[in-house]
Subunit: 592 residues, 2 copies
Amino acid sequence: MAEYKAPLRDMQFILNDVFNAPALWASMPGTEEASDHLAAAILEEGAKICENVLAPINRQGDEEGCQWQEGIVTTPSGFSTAYNTFAESGWAGLGGEPNYGGQGMPKMLTVMFEEMLYAANSSFALYPALTTGACLAINAHASDTLKALFLPKMYEGTWSGSMCLTEAHSGTDLGIIRTRAVPQDDGSYAVTGTKIFITGGDHDLTENIIHLVLAKLPDAPAGPRGISLFLVPKVKVDAEGNLGDSNQVSCGSIEHKMGIKGSSTCVMNFDGSQGYLVGDLNKGLAAMFTMMNYERLTIGLQGIGLADVSYQNALAYAKDRLQSRAPTGATHPDQIADPILVHPDVRRMLLTQKAYTEGCRAFAAFVGMKLDIAKHHSDDVVKSSASNMVALLTPIAKAYFTDRGFENCVLGQQVYGGHGYIREWGMEQFVRDARIAQIYEGTNGIQALDLIGRKVSANQGVWVKDFGAEIADYIIQMPQDAALAPFVTALNAANDLLQDTTDFVTTHSGEDKNFIGAASVDYLNLFGLVAMTFMWTRMAAAALPQADDPFCSGKLKTAHFFIQKLLPEAYAYQAKVKAGASTLMALSDDEF
Amino acid sequence: MAEYKAPLRDMQFILNDVFNAPALWASMPGTEEASDHLAAAILEEGAKICENVLAPINRQGDEEGCQWQEGIVTTPSGFSTAYNTFAESGWAGLGGEPNYGGQGMPKMLTVMFEEMLYAANSSFALYPALTTGACLAINAHASDTLKALFLPKMYEGTWSGSMCLTEAHSGTDLGIIRTRAVPQDDGSYAVTGTKIFITGGDHDLTENIIHLVLAKLPDAPAGPRGISLFLVPKVKVDAEGNLGDSNQVSCGSIEHKMGIKGSSTCVMNFDGSQGYLVGDLNKGLAAMFTMMNYERLTIGLQGIGLADVSYQNALAYAKDRLQSRAPTGATHPDQIADPILVHPDVRRMLLTQKAYTEGCRAFAAFVGMKLDIAKHHSDDVVKSSASNMVALLTPIAKAYFTDRGFENCVLGQQVYGGHGYIREWGMEQFVRDARIAQIYEGTNGIQALDLIGRKVSANQGVWVKDFGAEIADYIIQMPQDAALAPFVTALNAANDLLQDTTDFVTTHSGEDKNFIGAASVDYLNLFGLVAMTFMWTRMAAAALPQADDPFCSGKLKTAHFFIQKLLPEAYAYQAKVKAGASTLMALSDDEF
């Protein structure tokens, strides 16, 4: 069975050596309490619960899956006990608002803990991931009364959260939802409708589940501008926070899925359920986006976590499995064959996993840093600039991390040969569990459209220029060393490629309305490679002074591998972007 | 649930319009009986059994899987009945040797029928696929007595076959197998050992199973030169072909797998089982390669079949599912939203599926044509040249078709959004069933090594030059039309890229023993894209005269899409090949 060890060394390296996070935390009101020692202690304790409590129930959770019987959803063996340990240790409120009982830890730190959760047990990780996102939206948009009533219980993990958007006929296209909310005399709303694909919509882990539900008032405008957001608890809660009657919320069935089988995916029926407005009427989509943006980044972390656990096990297997001899002659002549790690193509697979996983992990921390700055920095200009960067980079984090995550899980499975296809080994579960991350929380195609449309074309690429300026600034102030020259060259070229391609996009997106959709995925992939180049340059620079340590010399060598063996794909993506929309749109329906 | 319609129109187009197969068949002794009418009738009948008998039991077969109880293996509901229909209709011997009851149909035709089988039900398709491969090896290498005793029953489907190579410690590295064969006084051998991952090693479809088993004599030389091949029936057969006692062959267990759950994957125990030598002593690996080469091509067809059925369903879904509006304005203003086929990125996914699936199908026919020429042509020079081409192209067919097959199934699943992840829809099963094809019958990494090592470097790229010359010859004699000019330009450039990269490979493979392994997968992918360019140029040329037919105008437009949107990746593969082995080999074990 696959095992998991949290990559604590790499996380410390990224926080301390690459980004000097403790200095940033010390400089901002609200994060001063976070120090390198506290961060290390949190990651170490987080690692323990992930390695010792959650990873061991991952494989069996996949075989058992969730069960639905007469409206009651049961999670796999061990999930409930593990959840109690998780909640009692205070993990549910790690990044939560301190005014309501959260621990207020920086996002740079929580992205790392979340990555561990997904690596250890992606199905389990989704229950708190939905709770955390719901808390963010409630904290940002709900009344003080609702916040005081719901947030403390959610931060302590006693109650969990869910996100109710999708309906059978309405997924990407939320403007056409049919769930209705009718105003009641007491100021609440009666919510009626059916939502599908609701992750953690029902389960046996918590005594209450707080649903955030998109619905329309009877007289609401058509389309997305008529959507409002409601807080609908599974069990009614009185003014003192005591549980009351059932709130007419029921789970009609659960889905039978390819993976994440320990995560319940529910059809949720609301039948005149009592709901409370969150945010302004008809501005529900904007309020829900607070939650959705959190979920998009956290699902990106699912990609990284699964890629990492797959990599760890593939590497161990490659060191252990004996098969054939090294091309340059036997390295282990005393054994029947050499470990397969000697074979160049096996190393290609492992290094691809390593380069993308560690590059994405660093980029997740970079996005986390921007989120922390956007929330806590004392200078409003810096704050606003960081906020723009978060908006630009979130769709990349979601789509790029999960696409690479899935591909890396496929590579890790491939290293195992035939055993990779056998369930007991666990490598194929990572592939199945990773696959959903490319689909839910907005498909990766939708992320690419969000990037190239709202985040690039809509502002004529000005945020991409800002990102490019940050790269240029970094190059100017980075350590001067001949050993880093290849990375500087590659990073400058990659940045030029991104800026040139972005110019092409902003120029052509007006001419042909199909251009944006035709270029979107290739543009996102190109952007992702440039982001990886930025991260690997920074990691190489941070590793260089400690290059007598194998961890750091490995970093430098992986950076070289990335530049030479993976980055060349960026030019193909540019060619595809520039090829435009015409060949895509030329076919009539019957020519397919 | 997913549905399947055999792509008869495309198959006819490839046979008749692209390759003019009937003229070739008429020209060679042994294939004269095959005509366009006969071919059409066979494909139509084959389509019926695949669409109506095998596809309907595919989804349930995945849920049930095979069962093992006290040594007895049971296939899913309906498999046994379907197999009887299959055998009674004569499909088991379609390409078999006429002297022993086979129907001797050309390979160009059988590749198409096999593709249909995998598309309809990959698990089911594997049972006859192993039988057909075993028959080929027996026909090529066994004594006349063995041929007469076993082939007729196998061609009629009464007995099936299996291929017993892998042992727990010995997969890719067959030189270290431990199964022993001890000569007996009667000329037979007592075979003892345990084989794993044996597809169709046991099941309830046939009254006997004929195992081809690699084993070593007690005094055999070490390594691959000490391996012999034995025919070991599950049930003993007397000289008249009557079934006798059990032959001490037992199934110890079956594997629990990611996919192809209706195909039994068995641990097979041979305990002094009576076996008969096939081919010469210690030349077993060469004899087994007759079977393995067949299996490699047929597994390539699994990739095509699954990609095609995924494409068909994704296309139907994209025409049916309403979500959001077309970028250029509503195409269906009377409906709540437009069909998602209007979105450029959905079209990108579908066209990628279409371009690779149809390109690979044409290339499979091309390889089939070379196999037919290598077997039947009256001119020994032509025969030998075709045989070389088969050797060169088989690893590409196996690896390229299955890599694209898996990726295309992932794309088809993505078109479905969240529904793609739900088992009932069937799209995720195609992904799981396709995944194995990249692993078994020699992983795709091994195929790439076979290509770049034995088939390219070993002969200084002379077969690649022959392939390039065939492309050049085709360009000279192809129809002259301005509409084809973009394809000629692209094909010439692609051929140059292949030849240039091959020169680089043959030059550098001597300098650095790790170079071949480091370049292998990227080289194979580059070669595959060139092969696709060749096929799409031929298909465009064949479609042009009939361009008023949507089928043919769709072909031309897909050819343009391929050239502009997929072919650019070839340059990235060249850059990766030229980056060599150094960054792969630089890391010590503890630097990973």
